[in-house]
Subunit: 377 residues, 2 copies
């Protein structure tokens, strides 16, 4: 370990990911991810700042939750305010007032889930903006170039994302296209300060997952993501697919499960070898008065909380829990006060970051199974 | 001055308000208002926390704007969540997580402006809740008792608020009732840690203002408010009425102009001898992308700000101005991101508190007229 530390200054640019501990009882591991804007411990959870802001939370509050890296959406930023505007305003970090790492997705998922598609072929996708209907073209090169220009720390390959339950033949086409586009994204990538991750597709079809993973590894990326999961297949099927796929990916590269998930999903996926997560649950649920706690969810609109003097979670050190009763929070939601969504989002993000810290501690002590039993939702 | 300071510890409970400086060129003065939850320098601006929260702003952020005292609404809190609930949750300060002074209005204004009235007589008012139509009764004793129970630092007498432009005969009835109710509120008031302010009504009818002011002074209150202004009478008429009324009030008691106003209104009213203000403008306008600056208002949705790298106001040290460009703020509003309303409300409150500090400085230097010329909107 000491020799490794000495080496670090020399190999800083090469060593973007370092495994610090491998769990004995699972495929889980603790690591350190180094980026141009600093390093983060893995397994890590990335709050979602879709349109350049984590909803309702200032970057300063976000840091207080323990957040080290966030996700933003190429698709949304491309449509509004546009990449040129973000460049003119000093790049995405300055635009968002966030000086720590940022990962952007490539837009693939949103193109296929939010937009009326007008044309798709092996080169790329033409779609209509969900805001004003303007026709926009994206392909592997354009999506990579956009992310280069945004100046983010981790860029994702442009991929095709298939809905859950499509047939094997269609899924095969999606996988073939995703591999083709990944190869082109790799060639187009031109930012030495930015990592590029490939995205493994293939639904819950293990053979297609294998094919996609092996082809992406052959191309070679700084990290590997699993896309197209948590789209309706259910927890068990998701974990089965993750476990199958993760072990096909290089041990020394970070693995990122996109759009996942509940605490239970995350703990299970960590056990299957995943290092990175993003999900809108803490903020979206926070806006809907749903609070995460160690003892299960709390629905703050419930009448039971009218005169409830307790904080959301006793012992939680977040600003919400150290200052506001459940009764006050319930009132804020009932009265349509913005403070309700703000404070519960803040708590939920704090809960998620504390969960990740507990996961890392559990991994170091080989106690992940105990944690999984304790937080089972 | 020194002798006064020595006396202070002895007369702490009696001396709730102390004039520190009297302007030579106007009726304006600097003072110190002492309450059970600390002291504030006057002239002072109170942000509005209608339903127990200043919209979109956490109490911690509020302190950073320089806010020392806030206003909350008896009417709204009575309807939702109810006074008993706030008592059970530890009183209004704990409920709101605000440990500095709170002033509550008595509900008079809202009863007459928001609710379908079902009955009014010399005793009090029966009205229907604007939320669920429930019939609620308020009179001088009940409104005073509620404010006692909320544990606020400054309570207001229950008054009748007349719309702008009603006839003199009706206005006379309003004034008579307001005096009657003030007398009863004074008798009902039973909280030595809480100040009680009378409210002078009378529209822009100077004779009625005189009658109301003199009667309230005869009853004797810890402070005096001017109600029923900024309801459509215009700036000049408002200032004329304020100037006329303020000089009828005891010099050694704080004077509070309710619901006012723009920077220009506030500067003029300070010159007429007003010490305290509250208004929703900084937060309501903030939610609508309207930012206050020394150089006039800024409408952040404007296309001119698309690629605008400047902060709202150069030199402003608020979190918004030190971190976000106008271009980014414009984008947040355009995309419906909560961060837009949050950040611009934060800036506007900071602007208002800075304005009050400038007003206090100008008073000490007898330069209020110069300030009025510089900020003229």
């Amino acid at each position: 370990m000491h020799a490794r530390e000495v080496q670090d200054t020399v190999s800083l640019i090469m060593a973007d990911f370092q495994i610090l501990h491998q769990d004995c009882d699972s495929a889980g591991r603790c690591g350190l991810l180094r980026t141009a804007h600093g390093e983060v411990e893995t397994p890590v959870f990335m709050p979602v700042g879709t349109a350049g802001a984590v909803k309702g939370i200032t970057p300063r509050q976000l840091k207080e939750t323990g957040t080290g890296i966030i996700l933003a959406n190429t698709y949304h930023l491309l449509i509004r305010p546009g990449i040129e505007t973000i460049e003119k305003l000093g790049g995405l970090h300055k635009f968002m007032a966030w000086d720590r790492p940022i990962l952007t997705d490539s837009g693939g998922y949103q193109v296929f889930s939010l937009s009326p598609l007008t044309r798709i072929d092996d080169d790329g996708v033409e779609f209509a903006s969900h805001v004003d209907g303007a026709r926009i073209y994206l392909n592997a090169e354009i999506a990579t170039d956009i992310q280069n220009r945004l100046g983010v720390d981790i860029a994702m390959c442009f991929d095709q994302c298939a809905p859950h339950g499509i047939g094997a033949a269609q899924l095969e086409e999606v996988v073939a296209r995703t591999i083709l586009w990944a190869e082109r994204a790799g060639r187009a990538h031109a930012n030495a300060n930015q990592m590029l991750f490939g995205i493994v597709q293939g639904g819950t079809h293990l053979e297609l997952r294998t094919r996609c993973a092996c082809e992406l590894v052959r191309i070679g990326f700084d990290g590997y993501a699993l896309g197209g999961l948590s789209v309706g297949e259910g927890h068990d099927e998701m974990v089965r697919t993750v476990a199958h796929t993760a072990r096909l990916l290089p041990r020394d590269k970070p693995r990122y499960l996109m759009g996942v998930g509940t605490p239970k999903d995350i703990i299970a996926a960590v056990g299957a070898g995943i290092d990175m997560f993003d999900c809108v649950l803490p903020t979206r649920n926070g806006r809907n008065a749903f609070a995460f706690t160690e003892n299960g969810p709390l629905r703050l609109r419930n009448n039971a909380h009218i005169n409830d003097t307790e904080p959301i979670e006793i012992g939680c050190e977040c600003y919400c829990c150290t200052n506001f009763s459940r009764g006050a929070l319930r009132h804020f939601f009932n009265s349509g006060e913005m403070l309700g969504p703000i404070l519960v989002s803040l708590h939920n993000l704090t809960f998620y970051q504390r969960l990740m810290a507990e996961i890392r501690r559990a991994l170091r002590r080989n106690e992940l199974a105990e944690l999984a039993k304790r937080i089972d939702y």
